[in-house]
Amino acid sequence: MAVRRTVLGLLILAWPALAAAAGGDADLGASLAAWSALPFVGILLSIALFPLVAPSFWHHHYTKVAAAWAASLAVPFVAVFGSPALHQLLHMAIVDYVPFVILIATLFTIGGGIHLAGSMRGTPWTNALLLLVGTVLASFVGTTGAAMLLIRPLLRANRDRRARAHTVVFFIFLVANIGGALTPLGDPPLFLGFLHGVPFFWTLVLWKETAALAAFVLAVYLALDLILWRREDRLVRAPRAGGAPLRVLGAHNFVLLAGVLAAVVFSGLVHLGEVTILGVHQQAQNLVRDAVLVGLLALSWCSTPASVRRDNEYSWAPIREVAILFAAIFTTIVAPLAILRAGERGALAWVVSAVREPAHFFWATGVLSSFLDNAPTYLTFLSTALGRLFPGVAEREAIARLIVDHPAVLQAISTGAVFMGANSYIGNAPNFMVKAIAEEAGVPMPSFFGYIAIYSVPVLIPAFVVLTMLFF
């Protein structure tokens, strides 16, 4: 205890000096070796593989694994490069990590306060309608929030059907991934883009890609489900009278969601000046936004009946997971991002020179997003694009120029990250959550490779090829 207090005291004493020294424009990216990206690769692979190969170990020890990867970068990084390295880590924490976790926690808490009660019949048209509603909703409540809200009603509606797994898989495609492409609230990669300077409404330009892909996937689902519906038992297909009417409990949370939207839009439109926190410049409007979001979270928590959250099986566990794992991701990503931003001068120059055309960015971001978390993947390829096209230019200015001069590149990175998260169970966080909820409701979900071979490869990959030909 005494040792801990002493170290803490020394840190507090040293902080002003470190912070003052921070912000120097030491070109870390050109100095770092390629292997300094290994902790980042390690944490992403841990998130991807442990749930598959050692789920129980991962469930109980992911905190330690994440801390180990974060320390393996942060300790030597700061020891070798001193204040500039510390500044990079603080910048990532203050500008990216804290707002990111606040937004995810707010959307999850408010979304978890809405419960769709009542009964529906899982006919092909009802299922398709639910998928469509979820797809549209995902851009406004987040893919995780929309998935939380609709997966249980969908499972209840299909309780009596023999063929259910395909409906859950297409739910993952549409609600947990594709639907989140239209606003920064929809999917974490797009919110990270927003935090780095992509305007809030810019993502609306993705409507053509999103509408085309969603329409195709929904049409395939409907055709498949109409065939499978004919094979269902006659009693299941027979119209039923009665049943509890549909009701939305905790509907006031939709108003709070509108508040989230307003707060985030506000922070993108208004400039209230800058404040400096631990040597890091942060926009004042972003702090206002985060404070409003925390207030909305608290309001939702206090105003929503506990029974609604119980019905949704709401818990803080997902937020805790995001907070812990993204602390490690945002710590370890500092090195590869700095290297990529250095462009041809960095140790990953071969990546920068290999990915050139929008189609390359779409597939490179997409393939990695299929198996690694899509939020850091998005940032990685955004930095790759900036490093190649605008080396040495400040990030916000470079992003503004990217949008004007090479919009297809950002569209490709954004859609690649969001859409291709659907390619496997580990591509996007809600995928695994939906799978687990469905299995606990007695739905025999396909295995990891079954999901890819039976659904992703035949349905999504051809669609992505067509998207590439049409848009990139």
Binding site: H60, E321, F432, E440, A441
Partner: protein, 196 residues
């Protein structure tokens, strides 16, 4: 207890099925003869059938109870040659078995599986080498994004063994249960007194 016979027919499987349909319609026996390929029965265990398959390129396996088997064999002997069908072998089915395994994360579904496969076997059928493991983890309750673990997991495996009709019935139940992986039915046979 009725004795069942496995009848291997050399020739086109399609023609054999058509012959069987004609036999059942003409004899008024009803649909009592079982086509092994429809019922998930593995007939490749039969050395003769493998050799015959290589020799002729096709075969069919039917399972018939004693009261029908004799007439079916007589019919095949009398009329089979007309459609290039001949009886390859006839064996008495002494018992049948299949292996199953299951992994479920729903207590309700686990109870359904236990009831169907383990607790209510038909007469003359037993579950052997049955192993069951239930894991509960209260910390895994509720939705998780990055560390998905199930709060309840039921793992079981075993072998269903007994007379053919009973094993067929349990196999049918298993095939209707989504989480159960049921292997093909394997037959134990003995030389049959019945001759074509």
């Amino acid at each position: 207890m009725t004795t069942w016979y496995e009848i291997i027919i050399i020739g086109s499987a399609k023609a054999a099925r058509a012959f069987l349909a004609g036999f059942e319609a003409g004899s008024g026996s009803g649909r009592v003869v079982i086509d092994a390929s429809d019922a998930g029965i593995d007939t490749a265990h039969h050395p003769d059938s493998l050799i015959d398959r290589l020799r002729t390129g096709a075969h069919a396996a039917f399972l018939a109870p004693a009261e029908v088997a004799g007439r079916l064999l007589a019919g095949l002997t009398d009329y089979g040659r007309g459609c290039d069908l001949e009886v390859g072998s006839v064996s008495e089915v002494t018992s049948a078995r299949f292996d199953f395994s299951v992994e479920i994360f729903s207590e309700t579904a686990a109870a359904e599986v236990r009831l169907a496969l383990v607790e209510t076997p038909p007469d003359g059928v037993e579950v052997v080498d049955y192993k069951e493991r239930v894991q509960r983890d209260a910390s895994a309750r509720g939705a998780e994004l990055y560390t998905p673990a199930h709060s309840y997991a039921f793992h079981a495996s075993g072998r269903v063994h007994g007379n053919l009709p009973g094993v067929l019935e349990v196999h049918r139940r298993a095939r209707n249960l989504a989480f159960v992986k049921a292997g093909e039915i394997r037959l134990e046979t003995a030389p049959a007194a019945l001759r074509p």
